[in-house]
Amino acid sequence: MTVRRRDFLRISGAAALSGGLPRLARSADTPSVYDLERFGNARILHMTDTHAQLQPVYFREPSVNLGLGEMRGRPPHLVGKAFLDRFGIRPDSADAYAFTFLDFEKSAARFGRLGGFAHLKTLIDRFRNDAGPGRTLLLDGGDLWQGTGQANAMQGADMVEAANLLGIEAMTGHWEFTYGEAALRKNLERFKGEFLAQNVFLTEEAAFNDARAFDPATGRVFKPSIIREIGGYRVAVIGQAFPYVPIAHPKRFTPDWTFGVRDDELQKLVDALRIHDKVDAVLLLSHNGMDVDLKLASRVSGIDVILGGHTHDAVPQPVAVRNAGGVTLVTNAGSNGKFLGVLDLELAKGKVADVRYRLFPVFSELLKPDPGMQALIDRIGEPYAATYAEKIATADRLLYRRGNFDGTMDRLICDALRRELDAEIALSPGFRWGTTVLQDQPVTMNDVLAETAITYPETYVQRMTGSQIKEILEDVCDNLFNADPYYQQGGDMVRAGGMAYICSPAEAAGRRISGLTLDNGRAIEAGKSYKVAGWASVNAQKGTPVWDVLANYLRAGKIGDPRKSGVTLKGVDDNPGLAEQG
């Protein structure tokens, strides 16, 4: 621990981020890393995409996060050294470990796990106390209720309890919707904060049938915004749910609701808050994803800051975007509880006079876990603890998911699908959640579920022609690399096992994927049919849940040889969003 403390105290990167202001440790219990000079008259705390990770986790940031066209080389599409250079973070520092994949295994041993709600609680309370009573607001950007076996089993009810104890005052949603309306509403009855979504409306049929809505006149299903008085000023918070819920997930979970970016409606809402409600600041709590937020910020005026999530981009500094009304700052606060955003506002009459933003890594070893939250986590987890602690295998290599095209954990899942379901090819979704397991560490059922726990985990085996397989790859690739962010859905490329292909991300839709071959080197033929296994289909399936398929495969000890990625990239060689294949 002494060694680690020394490592942490050498975090010059953090100082660079805050503008180099000298800070002193206040006490041994509150390390200087989290000392923050007083600024402004309102403090907004932002967390997002924790994916229900109540305990501290390892999470390797991506080594491939490509930006193309206008987005090339611009945040968030920077990885590794390009990221450190852009944000002035010292290599080898704790911040370098938190924000990038560089030296991940070596640094994981030095700096430990990040996040954890008991640690988050300690940090949040500290930032609240520093700002003083009535001066803060805690916001959650969604993907709070999904990502662990426990959250899935409890349909997110565990996370509502944790959110209440944490004191989350408003949130929006994405995976929350995949529990379906009944479970969602049941959770919201117990949630002490507000669930905000300006962009969720009743379908015409549902409205015609008088389905439940917050505002039957507009068809808005949820409250779009709240106004909070902070230090004598009025701050509006608008919620923006993930715009593509019925497309990215089975429509059966949200049959009555229609989503979308809806920036026209958003503009009307912002104008109404400004003109009629005379608010002094407007914040957008968004689950759009960073590229969508950047475009939205250029089109909608009157928003001071967009507090963003979904794409799991940990971006240390806001991006300023010009629009017709002035400038909007766009942030994105990472994932898995690794980070806490602190937005300090100097509010004035009708405007934000000045602003400071910091994105703090939540180093669990530097923060004393809050006893109340720890007790809550232990109590809720007790019925599941024994089952989830079961050791299933030992990691023979670093197992991670995040990356545009591939991750070692997904290779394992694809291998499991192919072997257990006897298929030539496996397809596995490119989710951006899913924690990391270090080499030689045990892989537990908890870890297996942290990669797979969704409400539609059923596997499938079906025959597909070569051209159908190519069409799927093209389709998902366009969701990732369409030049217009409004046509992107977030998430990463579908993972393909048992086959290889060439991807040219900068090409137009339908022309990015080529050279499809099976692992044995034979070309995949357009008209020929192949046996394909997969999971997380938007169509209802009946196969064994993927977590059992993965666990069975691991238990049998059949882990295959580490393979190189089956994806060859073309036309992106010097892209600052590409460090190594992964």
Binding site: E204, A248, H249, P429, G430, F431, Y486, Q489, A509
Partner: protein, 164 residues
């Protein structure tokens, strides 16, 4: 009169649609008397236009002229369709003297999807649902003062899944 590409009684659909619109959006000002008037003005089915494969040919067959893009034509359509079989699109315009509004889906087997004749005094605002097999540009044509104006937006139809 209204004509669609599948031979359904489109007038009836418009009436139902109109009722829903009044109920949902509160467009109380739409005179119901206009509907019998619409039904009465039953022009002949523009068979040739609906048979054309391409967008330009369909516009030419229907109107005999070409359209110019206009920011006065407001086309509302989703960026990504939640269901390609029923894609909600609507068009409204601030142009005067509107006589017809048409919808085209460039990459559908037959581009022309629907064409509405707008009698004098009617609010030039139409909502429609389009069936789309794949990603395509959707174009709204407004005929006003004898000229054609258009707005186009790409609507993506995706197999879905795999979101973040």
């Amino acid at each position: 009169m209204i004509s669609t590409d599948n031979g359904f009684s489109a007038a009836r659909r418009l009436i139902l649609k109109g009722t829903a619109t009044v109920a949902l959006i509160g467009l109380g000002g739409v005179p119901f008397g206009a509907i019998p008037a619409l039904a009465a003005a039953n022009d002949k089915w523009p068979e040739d236009a609906f048979k054309q494969k391409g967008e330009a040919d369909a516009i030419k067959a229907l109107y005999g002229k070409t359209a110019e893009p206009s920011d006065k034509v407001r086309l509302d359509a989703p960026e990504i369709a939640e269901n390609g079989a029923v894609v909600p699109v609507s068009v409204a315009t601030t142009l005067d003297d509107v006589t017809s509004i048409s919808f085209l889906v460039a990459d559908n087997p037959n581009a022309l999807a629907a064409s509405y004749q707008i009698p004098p005094g009617t609010l030039p605002s139409v909502a429609n649902r389009l069936k789309m097999a794949k990603t395509s540009n959707v174009t709204a044509i407004v005929e006003a003062g004898g000229k054609l104006y258009s707005a186009t937006k790409e609507v993506k139809v995706t197999v879905g899944g795999c979101g973040g």
